[in-house]
């Protein structure tokens, strides 16, 4: 047993893309991916409630920018200096900071970490913005492999309907207006999200993401999610790392 763990540890250190091999922390990392309006956040919230209800220690984190990076992006936009590459690196900076401060500690403590969006979001978005695919995959080489990565697959017609229910307009970046596909936000959204969807398809295949049909109703999706999670919890014995 000790030897097997050691083996994983060495493999992990030697890998340039660390997310290609399983991690050996006592906790579990479960992440959700999908385009805006795919319903992934709702599904993750429901999963969180279910896990908590069973007495598990759960930690939730989402793909949001820190103040430091937000201020930088704002400066960059104002001076018109923000480019696909700097935009990409700035998000990696935030992810690195979050990984070391919000994801590693609970995983070492044996908790279940739920992440709303993960590195695959960057792979999809940055590639659509023209950044080299392999380079982005190397950029995030320090990331951990999730124990489960759900991909909520949906069409843009469904996602746009969901987003516009409850509010009037699409946000500028959500609609990919910076890409200048179209002056019409709805049209722009469709083109932009359509391209992201294409990238997600490749990513789901490349990284073996667990695909969930997100056009189905909420509870039948949640049932599949919970059944998948149950499987990895069978041999889950949270033992905090103490050294």
């Amino acid at each position: 047993m000790a030897d097997a763990t050691q083996g994983i540890k060495i493999a992990w250190r030697q890998k340039m893309r660390k997310y290609e091999v399983p991690h050996n922390y006592p906790g579990k990392l479960i992440i959700v991916e999908g385009i805006d309006g795919s319903g992934k956040s709702t599904q993750l919230k429901l999963l969180q409630e279910w896990l908590k209800n069973q007495g598990y220690h759960v930690f939730f984190t989402e793909w949001n920018s820190s103040d430091l990076v937000n201020a930088t992006i704002k400066r960059g936009k104002k001076k018109n200096l923000l480019t696909p590459i700097t935009f990409s690196i700035l998000h990696a900076i935030d992810f690195s900071d979050r990984l070391y401060h919000l994801i590693f500690p609970p995983l070492k403590a044996g908790m279940i970490v739920l992440a709303d969006r993960y590195i695959y979001t960057a792979f999809a978005r940055d590639s659509v913005r023209g950044v080299d695919r392999e380079w982005v995959r190397d950029l995030y080489g320090f990331a951990l492999k999730p124990d489960i990565a759900f991909y909520f697959k949906v069409t843009t017609d469904v996602s746009i309907k969901r987003i516009l229910t409850g509010r009037q307009n699409l946000k500028y970046y959500e609609a990919g207006m910076d890409m200048r596909f179209s002056d019409d936000p709805v049209e722009s959204f469709k083109i932009f999200q359509g391209k992201i969807l294409e990238e997600y398809e490749k990513i789901a295949n490349e990284f073996n993401l667990t695909i969930i049909d997100a056009t189905k109703n909420i509870n039948s999706q949640q049932e599949i999610v919970r059944n998948t999670v149950k499987k990895i919890l069978e041999n889950y014995n949270p033992e905090p790392i103490i050294k």
Binding site: T86, Y100, H101
Partner: protein, 240 residues
């Protein structure tokens, strides 16, 4: 001109570059900045347009790197990426436009410094070189090499060790640049020595792998200046 790992930069064409990218590398206290400003003047007198670029001088990310340095919680990985962002911005908005306009770009240190600093902190060279895969391969790299023994008195005589700096500990030679974050010794001096030793070793390795022109910077200023000028003159095509 080409990039290291042939990684293309979105929306930027580098096929029509006519300028020259000349890198001067070397550790702190080696006299790099003095040489660079003198060489810039010399080239301008010869009729060449010159621009100088250096680390953390990006107009919108440089400030972020400075701010981040004040956060005690930042780790090596995040720092590495902050430097990468600063470099990417300068590459896209400073270095490439100048080279396209036919300028000579003098880089006061280049990706090798960032790679060496992160390597000294245990990150993989292979990974770091991939991150900087979109960087332009310079026309020449002059490495002002100095031994640790020659470097020590220069550092001890510099601002970093005077009493005013000692009082204002926040102004003490940059934590990252001096390797103080690594806690390699019981005081500033020990830490500095351990760190510089490591950095010099890494640079020697990089020098071989990337064909640096090694300049003996332990010698006096006029000698070093002459060697650098001869190398640059040959590269740019200055005769006399």
């Amino acid at each position: 001109m080409d990039t290291f790992k042939k990684i293309s930069i979105p929306n930027i064409d580098i096929s029509d570059i006519t300028g020259k990218l000349i890198v001067i590398e070397g550790t702190d206290g080696v006299g790099r900045s003095t040489q660079i400003s003198e060489i810039k003047k010399w080239l301008e007198v010869k009729g060449y347009a010159v621009t100088v670029t250096g680390w953390i001088r990006s107009p919108f990310i440089g400030k972020t790197v400075q701010e981040a340095k004040e956060k005690p919680t930042l780790n090596v990985n995040t720092f590495t990426l902050l430097y990468l962002a600063d470099f990417a911005d300068r590459m896209e908005h400073e270095i490439i436009p100048a080279l396209k306009a036919g300028y000579i770009v003098l880089a006061d240190r280049y990706i090798y410094t960032a790679i060496a600093r992160s390597m000294a902190r245990g990150l993989s060279q292979e990974w770091l070189e991939k991150l900087y895969g979109f960087a332009l391969i310079p026309d020449a790299v002059f490495y002002m090499r100095i031994t640790l023994k020659e470097l020590i008195p220069r550092i001890l005589n510099s601002d970093n060790f005077d009493e005013e700096y000692w009082r204002k500990t926040d102004k003490m030679m940059d934590f990252w640049e001096s390797g103080m974050d690594m806690r390699l010794g019981e005081d500033f001096y020990d830490s500095f020595i351990h760190y510089q030793k490591k950095i010099i070793q890494i640079f020697d390795k990089l020098a071989k792998q990337h064909n640096f022109n090694i300049v003996n910077a332990g010698k006096k200023y006029p000698y070093v200046n002459k060697v650098l000028k001869e190398g640059i003159a040959k590269l740019v095509g200055i005769q006399d």
